[in-house]
């Protein structure tokens, strides 16, 4: 039985956490940004877009989430997969995959607790065009 009943519930809960911390850590965020490559559940960014973090939330399918999160590295400096706490053990069993592709992994539960499992390195986005699109979307 999943901690969350749906990805929508998970997303709404995650949004509340971001709202709680955004002033303290001075970042902005957008939910479900379209027109890039895939639709990241959230993008966290600073004013100048010098640091952007893309986030893929999933209840359980870590493999699909990893593939999606790799795409987000096209326009972000860091990409994370966040999985329901009750199902994250499967992703943890494959942590070498996350390390190999430099994708972060964390678990998340209904109480709003985020537990970081792997923190990736920040790297330059690999698609200039998609980064350009991101700037357009976020500055509109």
């Amino acid at each position: 039985m999943a901690n969350f009943s749906s990805e929508e519930e998970m997303s709404n809960c995650f949004k509340k956490i971001l709202q709680k911390y955004q002033k303290r850590f001075n970042f902005k965020f957008e939910k479900e940004v379209e027109g890039l490559w895939g639709v990241p559940d959230f993008i966290l960014y600073d004013e100048n877009l010098d640091k952007t973090i893309a986030i893929e939330l999933k209840l359980k399918n870590w493999g699909r989430a990893l593939t999606q999160a790799f795409k987000y590295r096209a326009f972000s400096h860091c990409s994370f997969v966040i999985i329901d706490k009750d199902f994250v053990h499967r992703a943890k069993n494959n942590i070498d995959q996350f390390i190999h592709y430099n994708i972060g992994l964390a678990s998340f539960n209904k109480k709003g607790k985020i537990k970081k499992i792997y923190e990736p390195q920040f790297t330059s986005p690999y698609s200039k065009f998609t980064l350009f699109k991101l700037r357009q979307v976020l500055h509109e």
Binding site: H100, Y101, Y126, L131, F132
Partner: protein, 396 residues
């Protein structure tokens, strides 16, 4: 083995490519070109090396330019219904035959209806009664000397069921025809056919037709045309957009719609169309990335310019830009023409291409690039299994 351009909305790209000596002819698509335009503006020299797909797949539905063709059933009788075939089939045959003869196409193609989920016996009956009998009778009266093909749509259940497949084979080879325009109708969410049994049985079907001295011209194939080549068909096809590399009946229905596809580029080394955004990752992570793409005289440099600093929208790849498709026509045609004539050597050749592609995919994984299942090599083990199953079925 010949390669025909499967034409669509952008048939000018195919004509241009054919003008560059790429491809051995075209398969004309009346849904995409006005009848008068095809008659007056396309040269007879091109038509003599090409054939025409009459596209009476949905006889009540003259989508787009199909209504400009006098043979189309709704032009023979307004508000045409399926049961009207009995009364009108000779008129349809007469007009359709006349159109093909007047345009001097290489073959006469007998059309076929598209029927979803019907028993194979009904499919056979429908093609025989509505098309083959009236067309062949009309053809005999014309006293012309052209080869005649029948359009045969083989769906997944026809191909996978040995008994159905054999019955269709027995029936079609008993007809007074020179061959088939063979279309595999395989529906999947994936952009490649990842089904070794389907692929192997399709190859067996091609081979059995050939053993019965039928010509086999395969339409709407994607890169699995390389695999079909092992059964030695007379031709396979190259197409630009995805709906020309995978038969989809919705192409002949009114509301095709849907989300535009992502731009992709064919890699001759990976035997796959790679989503363009992935190619942007390659220069930084995979030093020998250019070796994945067979050199091209005209198009590769233009495509690679997309990777340059200029990220103005106009210079970016888009699925409607012609260069990736022109490049595919050139490279895939070359791959087909490089195949050995001897079938045993050809099998080794294609197996070797698969093995090399799988190795390159391993190198890409090692370079820390994670491809999704429409750009990765997950179709290749199915190809390898299909070859093994096909050879086993042949007793090899």
């Amino acid at each position: 083995m010949k390669v025909y351009h499967q034409t669509g909305f952008r048939y000018n790209w195919n004509i241009e490519s054919f003008g560059d000596d790429i491809g051995d002819g075209l398969i004309f698509s009346p849904v995409n070109i006005d009848a008068k335009k095809l008659e007056k503006e396309i040269s007879i020299d091109i038509k003599k090396e090409s054939f025409f797909d009459p596209q009476i797949y949905l006889p009540k539905n003259p989508k787009s330019q199909l209504y400009t063709y006098p043979y189309f059933p709704t032009n023979i009788k307004s508000e045409f219904e399926t049961q009207d075939f009995d009364a009108e089939k000779y008129k349809i045959a007469q007009q359709c035959m006349e159109f093909q003869l007047n345009n001097e196409f290489e073959y006469i193609v007998i059309p076929s209806r598209y029927t979803e989920s019907i028993p194979h016996t009904d499919y056979i009956k429908s093609i025989s009664n509505d098309f083959i009998i009236p067309f062949l009778e009309t053809y005999k009266q014309s006293k012309k000397d052209k080869k005649v093909l029948v359009t045969l749509i083989m769906n997944e259940s026809f191909i996978k069921n040995d008994s159905y497949r054999n019955e269709i084979l027995s029936w079609v080879t008993s007809q007074d025809l020179n061959g088939v325009y063979l279309i595999f109708d395989y529906n999947s969410d994936s952009k490649q056919i990842k089904d070794a049994i389907f692929l192997s049985n399709a190859m067996q079907f091609i081979n059995e037709l050939k053993e019965n001295e039928f010509e086999v011209h395969i339409g709407y194939n994607n890169t699995e045309g390389l695999l079909y080549s092992l059964a030695n068909p007379n031709s396979i096809s190259v197409g630009s957009y995805e709906n020309l590399r995978n038969f989809q009946i919705r192409r002949f229905q009114e509301n095709e719609g849907g989300k535009p596809p992502s731009p992709r580029l064919y890699s001759s080394e990976l035997l796959q169309w790679i989503e363009f955004r992935y190619i942007e990752t390659l220069p930084g992570l995979f030093p020998n990335w250019k070796n994945l793409f067979m050199p091209s005289e005209k198009y590769l440099d233009i495509i690679f310019k997309y990777l340059n600093e200029d990220y103005d929208k106009k210079s970016q790849p888009h699925f409607q830009k012609k260069e990736p498709y022109m490049y595919y026509f050139e490279v895939f045609y070359k791959q087909i023409k490089d195949l050995p004539d001897d079938i045993t050597k050809r099998i080794d050749w294609v197996c070797n291409l698969c093995n090399k592609a799988i190795e390159e995919y391993k190198n890409i994984t090692n370079a820390k690039i994670r491809l999704d299942d429409n750009s990765d090599g997950s179709h290749l083990p199915h190809w390898q299994n299909a070859i093994t199953l096909y050879l086993k079925a042949k007793g090899g």
